[in-house]
């Protein structure tokens, strides 16, 4: 199959009003069935099948259900949701409405990160306009029995709130500390009601699928990762920006398209992702190979990879919620280790201990943050040992 990487997004071809009409002509069950057929998986990074999440929420007992749009895009190097929110607000809000219809929710919450506060007034206006044009409120577009309203809630600067249970904690007025799972939000979510938390991009693709059909979506991608994905590409490349790709594209193809052929490494999946060295540029962007929520950061030939690793570890030390020990203490120890490497004070034996610590954090941390925070460090020490050991002292 031909690889696709383009900067014109398919979403442009979808009219929100028309798509919503098509959605409301279907029964909620049939709507979810179409999403199931498309094979859409969550686009925030975790890749949980959207249709499963929706059908579990729809089937969970309870009269009150919630649809939450996760617009707390905090993964370093990710900005595709920013573009969707800023340029396709109508599509995002319609996607939320459609998802609300599918799961039987009357309330939707858009959780927008504080860093994107420059969009707040725009969203308040958009929501108000929709209430006046029967796109929100009672009996939406004349569909009797379907009422849905959207509330805008601002985050307050916490990366961990992108994790769905932490996000719910934050909405409930608590510290954004992830919960133990199970129970899952699909039955015990916001206010203990069944809740579906979906990434901005997931909702937008769901809208595209209902408008253009599951077959259209499935013609792209690989067997295990069907469909299209938005990538946020930044770093040392000539054409940074938001791109639409079909899953299965190789790292090399992607780099050639954005003018980064000379890259020595690429960080895929943000701070919680992995660092891919040049010798592995034949690998594919897909859930079964290199999974990503959309972040791609390229590093040119002269970049210092230890500096990169240090930047990531500083990030996690600040953003760990502090709830569980592997993450709270582990990230600090890894950062200290990097500082030792910087000063050329680290023995190979200790480096091995740090590696073991990182691997322990991957299995012992409570949530995705701690489980993925050592990834960048581990892949950098694995692929660039000559760069991080025996450094010249300045």
């Amino acid at each position: 199959m031909k690889s696709i990487l383009r900067d014109t997004l398919s979403i442009r071809e979808v009219t929100p009003l028309e798509a919503l009409k098509k959605a409301l002509d279907l029964s909620p069950k049939d709507l979810i069935e179409q999403i199931r057929e498309s094979g859409l998986k969550g686009r925030g990074g975790a890749g949980f099948p959207t249709a499963v999440k929706w059908s579990l929420t729809a089937a969970a007992p309870g009269a009150t259900k919630y649809l939450i749009c996760n617009a707390d895009e905090g993964e370093p190097g990710t900005f595709k949701d920013r573009d969707l929110l800023n340029h396709y607000a109508d599509h995002v809000l319609t996607g939320m409405t459609m998802a609300g219809y599918a799961i039987g929710a009357n309330s939707g919450i858009l959780y927008l990160r504080q860093e994107y506060a420059f969009m707040r007034a725009m969203f308040e206006d958009e929501i108000q306009k929709r209430r006046q044009s029967s796109m929100l409120g009672a009996n939406i577009l004349g569909k009797s029995g379907f009422s849905f309203d959207i509330t805008l809630r601002m985050g307050a600067g916490a990366y961990v709130c992108g994790e769905e249970t932490a996000l719910i904690e934050s909405l409930e007025g608590n510290r954004g500390e992830p919960r133990n799972r199970p129970p899952f939000p699909v039955d015990t979510g916001y206010n203990d009601c069944p809740t579906s938390v979906n990434n901005v991009e997931t909702l937008v693709w769901a809208l595209c699928i209902i408008d253009k059909g599951a077959k259209w979506f499935k013609q792209y991608g690989t067997e295990k990762s069907p469909g299209l994905k938005l990538l946020s590409i930044s770093g040392d490349c000539q054409k940074p920006g938001v791109y639409e790709c079909a899953f299965g594209i190789t790292v090399r193809e992607m780099l050639e398209a954005v003018g980064a052929e000379d890259a020595k490494a690429v960080q895929i999946g943000g701070a919680s992702g992995i660092c891919v060295p040049a010798k592995e540029f034949g690998r594919k962007i897909a859930f079964e190979d290199i999974s990503t929520g959309g972040s791609v950061i390229t590093f040119g030939p002269n970049r210092d990879m230890l500096r990169v690793a240090k930047n990531f570890m500083e990030f996690f030390v600040e953003e760990s919620c502090g709830q569980c020990t592997p993450c709270r203490v582990g990230n600090r120890k890894l950062l200290e280790g990097i500082e030792m490497l910087e000063k050329n004070e680290c023995s190979i034996k200790y480096l091995k201990e740090l590696k073991a610590l990182g691997e322990t954090m991957q299995i012992a941390s409570k949530c995705g943050l701690g489980q993925t925070s050592p990834n960048a460090f581990l892949s950098i020490i694995e692929h660039f040992p000559h760069e991080i050991m025996g450094r010249h002292l300045s």
Binding site: E73, G77, E115, Y116, R175, G235
Partner: protein, 173 residues
């Protein structure tokens, strides 16, 4: 704080509180509104909010101190937050940082003596394709060069001048 000041603060917050449902989920929006109006959330404000919601004040404190955009002490009228994360780092955020400290005469984490500016680092603000990027309060500036730093700060200063006006929006995406 004087008793009368405390009473005034309590009145203000209580009238604000009446516009929110009296439940725990209102805590964060209330704190954000207090932050917006007062520039910070004092321990008295936390006490009043906690009283209103029927929770222990330490609960309010634990929430305020968890989130990096809420603060327990006053900051400058303009809070400048420079993104320190990888993509902005690759685009030489250090040069912009240096110029900010040169122009403002303070280090990161400090407030200018006239209380007009705070200077801080922040983690990824999602402007990675347009780095280095910074926030001035809620406004975003992208592709910032050291030579532009002066203009950004002067733009802010206009607010304090005789012909006060909002800062120019040409850098806003």
């Amino acid at each position: 704080m004087l008793k009368t000041d405390f009473d005034r603060l309590r009145d203000q917050i209580e009238s604000l509180a009446r516009t929110y449902p009296k439940k725990r989920a209102s805590l964060l929006p209330m704190l954000q509104e207090i932050q917006r109006v007062h520039g910070y959330i004092s321990s008295h404000a936390m006490q009043v909010v906690a009283d209103h919601l029927g929770i222990h004040p330490v609960e309010a404190y634990s929430v305020v101190t968890f989130y990096s955009f809420l603060n327990t002490a006053p900051k400058g009228r303009f809070v400048i937050r420079l993104c320190q994360t990888v993509s902005c780092d690759l685009k030489n955020k250090d040069a912009v940082a240096r110029q900010l400290t040169n122009e403002l005469g303070i280090e990161f984490g400090q407030i200018t003596p006239d209380k007009r500016f705070s200077l801080e680092w922040t983690n990824c603000i999602g402007m990675c394709d347009m780095g280095p990027a910074l926030l001035v309060n809620e406004q975003v500036f992208t592709h910032v060069t050291p030579t532009e730093v002066h203009a950004i700060i002067e733009g802010c200063r206009k607010v304090f001048g005789v012909h006060a006006q909002e800062i120019e929006k040409e850098h806003l995406i």
